[in-house]
């Protein structure tokens, strides 16, 4: 929703909250429901109300539990019945510097300051350990905003007695905890309050009157920031950044001004700003975000501009280059289709408001932020948190290579008349076996973001996936696919629960980047083999329809399963394993290295 996109009008969001909420709920979008417990050290009421808007906008329909006023510690260590029954999918510990109880005094000897630091950290570690043990779900924790006054002036920053120094050390310890614990995430209030302006952020009137951790008008910025982390945890990040060229990646119009006439490089301030933006995009790409071009230009001119010797980006940095005179919404839709992604995975960056408007209206769900003035481009993309990084798997870092290989495969496919001859020519090799610890992050990530080739769309937190991993009651398979163009990484996951002679398949998913490669047959072959070895006689699968998984509606039927039931939730299918013959003829299948 436009009103919730950076740069937003915070006052307007506060004032029109009810109307915005109504409009969001009226949108016809599929949302996942998530239960979020907010344990506060300060008032949480309006935080939750505004957070709801940003989450709805990100495709999450939240249900909230709020602790009684400032009961975060008690709720974590002695969870009340209501919180236990609520069974949160995520816990947000909303604390502030105002909740720090062991501040150093000027007269404290060094050991006393250390003790106080330790005591303060102990309090929070107890909270986290308590929550982890009871709830096994992701924890989102605020770090601390800097104090709003400095008793020692600038010395406050370095003297251990200074509150600024103390807060910095606490924040470092929080960061260390995040580094060491999966499923623990920071809401970086320290950065956010600086970005907003600490003096306004920490306006003491709001604490003293209403016990709010920040000034009222900062709540939308705060909620937006927290929502970025939450939607990233629940797999709602964008994946593609489609970029216009003229006056977006460089100043001027390459078709009119010629390559030598565009602003990019070190010549002047404007050229440097575009260069800085291109360098930023190169970093965005390194996160695994797919860059594409969507420009009204002759391709020849587009490539000439991208090959400008002073530019930071090269044509090879883009997965797809759409430089033509078609309407941009059509180019974006095609871009998504070619990458086997939904249009809503795309962010469209264009300096031209008319182009943004066409894309917004024709392709609801595509984000088209206000790119106004090259000096604001980075902040606009960055503050919108489209690509907020909570997990960073090996696959993310290699994603661009993998998609590039896909484009090459498509070209090769066109040269084969017979599809199975093409599949054989790919020289595919798969590793399909029980989970390995190094792949757990990727497996969890896949489970949380795969929507299309996903039979049940069951989601798992990191903690739940670890439980599955350590349990004897499951047959687990991950599948990794390599071919002559490159390594696709882990692309398929199957989890089945052994119930006597039956394996109940609670998750079957595959990344759309390996559609139509017979990888699903390879997975089925391995599953049948592993089940037979455990004495399982029947496979039972479920198909739960969603707005996005229509492509696998008939998957079990195509495998030869018989439909055994149907209810509101979906259909159930079974396949007896006696006499099972392997189906996959085009992939060489191996197991984990011993």
């Amino acid at each position: 929703m436009r009103e919730l996109e950076y740069p937003f009008d915070a006052g307007g969001i506060i004032r029109r909250r009810k109307a915005l909420r109504k409009a969001l709920l009226a949108e016809n979008t599929a949302r996942v429901r998530k239960k979020i417990a907010v344990l506060g050290g300060s008032t949480t009421s309006d935080i939750v109300k505004i957070l709801e808007l940003f989450l709805l906008d990100a495709g999450i329909e939240p249900e909230f539990y709020e602790s009684e006023y400032a009961q975060y510690y008690q709720d974590a260590l002695f969870p009340p019945e209501a919180l236990l029954a609520f069974a949160p999918d995520l816990i947000f510990v909303h604390t502030t510097s105002r909740n720090i109880t062991h501040w150093p005094e000027l007269a404290d000897p060094p050991e006393a300051v250390e003790e106080k630091l330790g005591a303060e950290l102990e309090k929070f570690r107890a909270v986290w350990a308590g929550l982890e043990e009871t709830f096994h779900c992701p924890i989102l924790q605020n770090n601390f905003e800097k104090p709003f006054y400095r008793l020692l002036g600038n010395r406050d920053a370095w003297d251990p007695h200074g509150r600024v120094n103390f807060v910095n050390r606490l924040n470092q310890a929080f960061a260390a905890h995040a580094q060491e614990h999966t499923g623990f995430y920071l809401n970086d209030v320290d950065y956010l309050s600086a970005d907003y302006g600490l003096r306004r952020w920490a306006d003491p009137a709001f604490w003293n009157l209403y016990k709010y951790a920040m000034c009222f008008e900062a709540i939308p910025a705060f909620a937006s920031n927290a929502a970025h982390v939450i939607k990233s945890i629940f797999g709602r990040n964008k994946k593609v950044l489609a970029l216009d060229l003229d006056n977006t990646l460089w100043g001027g119009v390459v078709g009119d001004d010629g390559v030598e006439g565009i602003d990019i490089g070190q010549e002047n301030g404007v050229a440097q700003s575009y260069y800085e933006f291109q360098s930023y995009l190169k970093q965005v790409k390194s996160l695994g975000v797919l860059l594409t071009v969507c420009s009204k230009n002759d391709e020849e001119n587009a490539l000439a501009g991208l090959n400008h010797p002073e530019g930071a980006l090269r044509p090879e940095d883009f997965i797809l280059i759409k430089a033509n005179w078609e309407n941009k919404d059509r180019n974006i839709a095609e871009t998504a289709a070619q990458l086997d992604l939904l249009p809503e995975s795309v962010v469209f960056a264009d300096d031209n408001p008319a182009e943004r408007e066409i894309v917004r209206t024709q392709l609801p769900g595509v984000a088209a932020p206000e790119m106004e003035g090259v000096e604001n481009y980075i902040a606009t993309l960055d503050r919108n948190g489209y690509f907020e990084t909570t997990t960073l798997s090996e696959d993310d870092l290699k994603r661009n290579e993998m998609y590039k290989a896909n484009v090459l495969r498509a070209a090769e496919q066109a040269s084969f008349g017979d599809y199975s001859a093409y599949l054989k020519s790919l020289e595919m090799r798969a590793v399909i076996d029980d989970f390995l610890p190094i792949y757990l992050a990727r497996i969890t990530q896949l489970a949380n973001k795969s929507n299309q080739f996903n039979l049940t769309t069951k989601r798992y937190t990191v903690e739940e996936m670890e439980q599955v991993f350590h349990s004897e009651n499951y047959v687990r398979l991950y599948g990794k696919l390599v071919d002559k163009f490159g390594d696709n990484g882990v692309v398929s996951v199957v989890i089945g629960r052994v119930e006597g002679p039956v394996l109940d398949i609670e998750l079957w998913l595959m990344s759309c980047r390996v559609l139509k490669r017979d990888m699903e047959l390879a997975m089925l072959d391995r599953l049948a083999e592993r089940c037979a070895a455990r004495g399982v006689q029947t496979l039972r699968g479920h198909y739960y329809p969603t707005a996005k998984n229509g492509m696998v509606k008939e998957l079990y039927a195509s495998f030869g399963f018989a439909k055994t039931g149907e209810d509101q939730r979906g259909s159930t299918w079974e396949l007896p394993l006696s006499g099972y013959e392997p189906r996959c003829k085009v992939i060489e299948i191996a197991g984990n290295d011993q």
Binding site: R15, K18, F216
Partner: protein, 80 residues
């Protein structure tokens, strides 16, 4: 800015905050007259009024206002 203009604008703010086009506020309107006007919504209201008139209430004023009329008087004084 005369009182009539202040009340017209206040009325619009109230309608937006409570998402209710039927609201009509007058000098004697209090929190008891509007269903959703509780202590939590009060903060939203104050913030929205401040934004509308580009002014800030002082801490003492926020807890001291007894009805919309008193709010309008502070606005009239501050907005001079």
């Amino acid at each position: 800015m005369d009182m009539r203009e202040i009340f017209t604008r206040l009325n619009r703010v109230f309608q937006e905050v409570f998402d209710d086009r039927s609201i009509r506020v007058g000098p004697d309107t209090t929190a008891d007259d509007i269903d959703d006007w509780d202590s939590l919504e009060h903060i939203t209201l104050i913030s929205a009024v401040e934004q509308e008139f580009r002014m800030k209430f002082k801490m003492g004023e926020i807890s001291g206002m007894r009805n919309v009329g008193e709010m309008a008087e502070i606005i009239a004084e501050r907005a001079r």
